[in-house]
Amino acid sequence: MRPTLFFVALAALSTPAGAFIDSNLAVSPGAQASGGGCYATPLVPGLLDMLTLVDPEWAAIDVGSHLPPFSDPITLHGTVALAKINEGGDLPADHESDDQNTFITLDAADQGFVATGNVGPHGEDGGQLEVEWEIGKYPLFAWAGRGDRLTGVGRWIWDCGHPDPDPPGSCSVTMTQPCAIDADCASPTCSGCTSGETCVGVTWNYHSELHPPQAVAVTRTGGYKHFAHDVRAGHRSTRTDVWISPDGGGAGDTCELTHQANPFSLLGIECHPLSHPVANVNASDFTFDIPLPPRPPKNPRPPRVRAFDRTPNGLPRAKVLTTFVDGPAPTVHVVVKTSAPVHGQLPSKVGKTIIAGWRPDPTPVTHLRVAVTAIEIVNALKPVTPAVALMQRCSVTTSQDCSMSACPTGESCLTLGGPIPGWTVFLEVNGDWRALPDLGTVSAPVTVPQNLTYDLGVLTGDTLHLHATGHSLDCREGQLYGLSFQRALSLYGFFPGATCLNTESHNIGTFDVDLAGPDYGSGGTSASFVTPSVGGNGGHCSATTSQLCLVDADCPSGESCVGTGGAYKLHYTITKLPLR
């Protein structure tokens, strides 16, 4: 890299509050020094080239004084636009579970963390930035909802898997030849190019993300009680849920993040079980500010602040220090002391819920209760013929079919392929997320009773927001998470393994309901609903319309599967209660 370009790149990296960071930096020689940065594919790649896109799948944007894959964490602040799971699923070889994605509209001061690719033709709505953390690493109490404030600390990365060269460049001499990388301007890709031509002028659309975080604080405003974190209906307050953990899954593991000179090496590397997190939550404390509601008139008292511990049992409970900062926009400054030992042991995974508000606060709050009584699976979205035929293999002697003979001592017999049962559904009510239980065996239409109760206090002007995210599992997500390429290929064999990897989960449709006050759908007292999901996969056969299907092959010969979506209905009751 020429010195001028190098300093321009440095300047771009050192001004997070300025303009968007240029996504072309992701593949710059400076970024790729010492195995950092992303690595691009030809303009017209083959499937094998895709390994290049996950070598690594996430690259630190600014390694600072470190060598890749290490970098200092950043802190960002913003407002949540949407939270959901990655319904289609992720690459299992470098994930232990599916990602949860929170889309953030960053504060003006943090817009410099947004890349040009986030706002371009391949960007997010409004140039948002995604915060991604594996579902298995991120407890539901700290998931966010629309409109919540989020402070996140973590790994600021390029999402190397989505380069999106658009518009492509052109070869430096043979300018009629489009290109993405220099190899596109050389034989055999470009037979008419002259020796030494390079690809110039390509615009890359890599996204910047916080992926994974190592700490988040999610603040919501509503009616909450100060005496218990699990009671959400009370006086106007802010509730801040905090989760801190070095465990970021594959995206936070040194082995998964280390660039290989030959991407084909990824097929032979074993990183699982993941054991080398790049994050160090003890290097500094987690600090953030909680915005308080407007101070009630004629109330000179300081706010009341209460912190509840949500740390997993047996782990050190980090101390929390709170300081009231008065002013036109009063806040509570919070320090979670993750750098300080507790009884001689440093904290690792830490959970907190902090309730803050004014006392007294006469602001009206409507107490609502949403009771989810059942999920009706209309179409289970399971193919009649599984993607991979059922087989049984020994856990170590993977070539041995254990349906025929017992495995050697100490090994287990694994069931692979076959029908993949199960749905995963998460439902939020104004940012209070729950997993719907008892869906692990779903394989046919069925009504699964539920007993989920959401109590919440809604402020005038806010809506009651019910929103679900989920999918019907198929082979990739049902069986492959946490298995390296090497392990998966060894267990399944090449063709069945590739087929399983290629069989993503199925879209169960959208459930996203907003209900306005003053009754929020309750009719003033109580009302029950059965609401179908909208869109998604599945339907009925074209002639045999009584027969449900996922794909054409599920229907009688000559018929096709007519998509209707609406794979499930949610049964729930909304009740308006008097304030206690």
Partner: protein, 110 residues
């Protein structure tokens, strides 16, 4: 001359060959269909007793999945098989994967 032309048409994998460029240009048209393509082997990768390799024809290439061991890089082959879609990873985020050819037979090509 005419007899030679007819004879060339009869050669397996030559007369009925589909251009890899045509498949790349509109891959969905070919999904599930049997095609024969001709190209030069690149990136031959053994996977157990099976293999993957790229077949290049000029500026474009197509990845082949094979039940057989990989051919030598640089070999010119005619490969017959079925075009399949590939979705690996978070397709919800618009990652488009190239289609692949699942090989049923191969033979040397001129």
């Amino acid at each position: 001359m005419r007899a030679l032309f007819i004879a060339l048409l009869m050669l397996p994998g030559v007369a009925s060959a589909t251009g890899i460029a045509d498949i790349i240009a509109s891959p969905d048209t070919y999904v599930g269909k049997s095609v024969t393509v001709v190209g030069t082997v690149e990136n031959a990768l053994p996977i157990g007793p099976e293999s993957m390799f790229d077949l290049r024809d000029g500026r474009v290439k197509l990845t082949v999945m094979s039940h057989a061991s990989p051919p030598a890089a640089g070999t010119r082959l005619s490969v017959t098989g079925t075009i399949r879609e590939a979705h690996v990873g978070d397709t919800g985020e618009n990652r488009d994967f190239p289609h692949v050819l699942v090989e049923s037979s191969r033979s040397p090509a001129p």
